[in-house]
Symmetry: C2
Subunit: 216 residues, 2 copies
């Protein structure tokens, strides 16, 4: 649980906000004007009462019997998420994963702007990645300060992840998205999201097991 | 909510199982024999009562006042997740993301075995990726059947994702992990996990906003 201006919002609700935003965005694209809590809940795979509870954390939405105005709710959830802001980002680690993220099309659309890609490997430094030239990690600290970088993405091998995080923190980064399969330590005022890709396979495993998966 | 042998387990609890498994694995590595629900809950960032509720979905663990036996709980959660099984996987899309996942070290350790990588690009077909030669997507359907592939990972551009999913389903795949930024449709008996990487940035955005992030 965490404190917000809107009250204490459980992490599980926070994690559903992007999904609301995505589904509402689809409805907006299809020019749907109103949606009932039941329909939206069905799209989300949750119950209508869960949906109403979720949205109640953020104020009053919708009208009894009339459902939600799609465009308004979409804009409002975007505002709650903070998408009116733009965030400058760096990626450290220009291997396959770093390159994949650098080329991921949906980040800049949401206001997450990649400003630099860094690596330690002389063979990669100087290469162009879309609009970004891969820079020497020696310049990372200064770059974060000068370019007002808010979010640092770590895609280096796990042995180097903590060191990269330390540089980012020293330079005044606000948030770290860590893909290295290791838990890094940062001060409590830094937003840290660890991406554990193997976790997703474990969820798949659990769900397969529920369905009675047996090896042949 | 879903039915299991152990009763109906909410998705939010299922999604926490890999995290329990990871933290308990660390305690096992450090040769910790017992852990209190409070300590484990603190590691997890949840309340002790939440933790006890979570584990109650799966039976009786721990003894009042004695905490949990780390090794037993670790093994048991691994069993609940289904990690005693091995799963054969293919990756379709041998671009940066597909290559990054093919090289990700923590999958095979958990029994998720990469058996083949496929692409449509003649320049990539035939290249070696670790132990895997990139194959022509024309051979995908037959390969899934012959090699008893359970999990298909989709890392193609979004325009091609549904077509790849259709081939996988036709070939009898059990689960799909989709990284293409588009919602694909599969029959209800197929386990589908969509990876929306931009969602994680939105969670970061929300958390930064809570902390009073303002652009300079």
């Amino acid at each position: 649980m965490r404190d917000t201006k809107e009250g204490r919002v459980p992490m599980v609700v926070i994690k559903r906000l992007p999904k609301y935003y995505r589904y509402l965005g689809e409805l907006v694209e299809h020019k749907v004007e109103r949606v009932s809590s039941q329909t939206l809940a069905d799209m989300m795979g949750i119950s209508a009462s869960q949906l109403r509870q979720d949205l109640n954390h953020f104020g009053e939405f919708g009208q009894q019997g009339y459902g939600y105005r799609v465009e308004d709710l979409y804009q409002e959830i975007g505002r709650i998420i903070g998408l009116e802001n733009e965030y400058n980002m760096v990626i450290v680690g220009a291997g396959n994963l770093g390159q994949a993220l650098a080329n991921y099309p949906n980040f800049s659309k949401r206001g997450f702007l990649l400003k630099g890609v860094f690596d330690i490997n002389p063979k990669l430094i100087g290469l162009k990645l879309r609009d970004n030239e891969i820079m020497d990690i020696d310049h990372l600290e200064q770059f974060i300060q000068k370019e007002n970088i808010a979010i640092g993405i770590i895609t280096v091998p796990k042995e180097a992840a903590q060191e990269v995080a330390d540089i980012m923190v020293r330079a005044g980064i606000k948030a770290i998205w860590n893909f290295a399969p290791v838990d890094i330590k940062v001060p409590p005022e830094i937003v840290l999201e660890n991406e554990h890709l193997a976790d997703r396979l474990m969820v798949i495993s659990f769900r397969l097991k529920e369905l009675g998966f047996e090896e042949d």
